[in-house]
């Protein structure tokens, strides 16, 4: 499962690179049968590193949510679907330790996926020789990317809660899809800064969306969401009957 998620993230960032490749070499692309609409591609601007990083940023804000959500759902949910929860409950460790240990695994796994996504994206970008590389641009992009990945981490705890509550991973996965849809909708109506699942995406593209700036309250909402998810998960493990 771990390597499966790594491969998936590598695949997605490779696809991002492919989009730039199509822009850089439309003649090769058309020979390969990929008829691209250059006008629609140009919404990312010229094919250079700055815009490529923006593309990668948009990608991680979506795929990061999905990947993080999947990881959180699976780490907790599989214990229920495989019926191995009862083995954990009779260990001589506190249940809080079990929850925090799994959260640490989720965080590390998500960070590894983020890192793999970015590195693969950069490697593909170097391979296809995207023009206008700049260390300043790269560093700025890396900073935004790191913060976006960090913000996404707060959203794993509600999914962990749902996995424990539903004793599986279908409900939390369904919830991930729902949040993506709602995040898009809140973006359309201008409520993005107040919907937790839209906030990382807005941060990633905040330099280009003056219409929906993030406020302090946005970060508080995100933090509160993460905290509530964690407390809910702890409550289930410590207080609920484990039938």
């Amino acid at each position: 499962m771990f390597w499966g998620t790594i491969l998936f993230f590598m695949f997605v960032s490779t696809m991002m690179g492919l989009m730039l490749f199509v822009q850089l070499h439309p003649e090769i692309a058309s020979k390969l049968g990929m008829i691209g609409d250059k006008a629609s591609m140009l919404r990312f601007g010229e094919p250079n590193w700055q815009n490529y990083f923006k593309l990668l940023m948009m990608g991680i804000s979506a795929i990061g949510l999905v990947g993080n959500g999947f990881v959180a759902s699976w780490v907790f949910g599989r214990e229920y679907t495989d019926h191995t929860v009862k083995d954990l409950l009779v260990l001589p460790v506190s249940r809080s330790s079990i929850v925090f240990s799994k959260m640490i695994v989720i965080v590390l796994w998500s960070l590894i996926l983020s890192f793999v996504y970015l590195m693969m994206g950069i490697l593909v970008g170097l391979f296809i020789d995207i023009p206008a590389w700049s260390a300043d641009i790269a560093w700025s992009a890396f900073h935004t990317y790191a913060v976006t990945s960090f913000l996404i981490l707060f959203l794993c705890t509600p999914l962990a809660f749902l996995a424990c509550y539903s004793r599986g991973f279908l409900l939390p996965l369904g919830f991930v899809i729902l949040t993506l849809i709602v995040a898009n909708f809140t973006g359309l109506v201008g409520l993005g800064p107040y919907f937790p699942w839209a906030i990382p995406g807005l941060y990633a593209t905040s330099s280009g969306t003056a219409a929906m700036p993030l406020h302090l309250v946005s970060y508080i909402i995100l933090l509160a969401t993460g905290l509530l998810g964690l407390l809910g998960t702890l409550a289930i493990w410590r207080l609920a009957d484990q039938k």
């Binding site: 495989d82 009862k86 083995d87 009779v90 260990l91 460790v93 249940r95 410590r238 484990q242």
Partner: protein, 308 residues
């Protein structure tokens, strides 16, 4: 000095209007093998889950080694091994890998513990097989291995013989008997097969519809099983009249025999034979029948099939 290793005081668990366990008070002393018997749905697994802190009782309290059981008191589990319902393991990992996980999660330094428990449970041939590819019986053995790998002082087993073949049942029985007799391990084992449990339990508790209906020492079980004398004759009505006139109490069975339950008569059926022969009504069948354990169990819980 209280040597109770496991003790419950009026333990109850209610779900909405279902009383899964009601007012259960039992105690298990060190080195005992307590057989907890009941039908499916009687409350056995609920009781074991409460003893493991997985379920909070609605009322009452349970103790292990004098310490109250709760989800917070996780130190207790250092000395407890358990198997609850069907054992499951991580399907993509092998037997050895699953046991390695348990060893690490229990902070056990002894890496040889895995080989020892594999040998003990005869899992050597399957050590490198993935758990998802194990048969039911071998999965059961793996579950038992996980329960015993850390050499616990107390073992709680929920129907451990499930899925095991007769050889496996014998091995587990011998192993548990040895643990209790020679290593002082306290064993609490639930089952619905009285015949199996009675072979090695030292005490038996029978639970029915959430209530503990009887507790007996296993060595008394035989004396508690009732016996009856079955009689047949060519002229059954005459036999009934003759024996009734002698003051004996008889019953007519559904399969057209006569039944006598008097302890003295059952122990001396020749007296009945003599009476019947003298009355020119010799018996064609004279049989002492002992209640089997299943019948005793069903009688105890008040079900059909038990001999009353």
């Amino acid at each position: 000095m209280n040597t109770d290793i496991i003790r419950t005081e009026s333990l109850s668990k209610q779900y909405d209007d279902v009383h899964a366990v009601s007012d259960l008070s039992l105690n298990v002393r060190k080195g005992e093998i307590y057989g907890f018997l009941g039908l499916n749905g009687a409350g056995k697994t609920t009781t074991i889950r409460m003893l493991l802190g997985m379920i909070r009782p609605t009322s009452g309290v349970a103790y292990i080694k004098g310490k109250k059981i709760s989800s917070n008191n996780t130190e207790l589990w250092k000395s407890v091994g358990s198997l609850v319902e069907i054992p499951f393991s991580y399907p993509e990992l092998t037997v050895r890998e699953n046991l390695e996980i348990v060893r690490r999660l229990r902070f056990m330094d002894d890496k040889k513990a895995i080989d020892k428990v594999i040998d003990k449970l005869k899992l050597g041939a399957y050590a490198n097989r993935k758990a998802k590819n194990l048969s039911l019986g071998n999965n059961q053995r793996l579950g038992l291995a996980k329960a015993l790998i850390h050499n616990p002082e107390i073992v709680l087993l929920d129907e451990p013989a499930n899925g095991l073949d007769p050889a496996g049942i014998y091995e587990i029985r011998e192993m548990l008997s040895d643990l209790a007799a020679n290593q002082g391990v306290t064993i609490f084992i639930s089952s619905h097969i009285l015949g199996e449990v009675s072979r090695f339990a030292t005490r038996i508790g029978i639970i029915h519809e959430g209530f503990l209906v009887k507790e007996i020492d296993a060595n008394q079980l035989e004396t508690l099983c009732s016996k009856r004398l079955l009689i047949n004759a060519n002229d059954l009505e005459k036999a009934y009249k003759v024996l009734s006139q002698q003051g004996y109490v008889l019953k007519k069975t559904p399969d057209h025999l006569l039944e006598m339950n008097d302890e003295f008569v059952v122990s001396q059926p020749d007296i009945v034979a003599t009476i019947m022969v003298h009355a020119s009504c010799p018996p064609t069948l004279l049989k002492v029948e002992e209640e089997d354990l299943e019948s005793y169990f069903l009688k105890t819980i008040g079900m059909k099939g038990g001999i009353h």
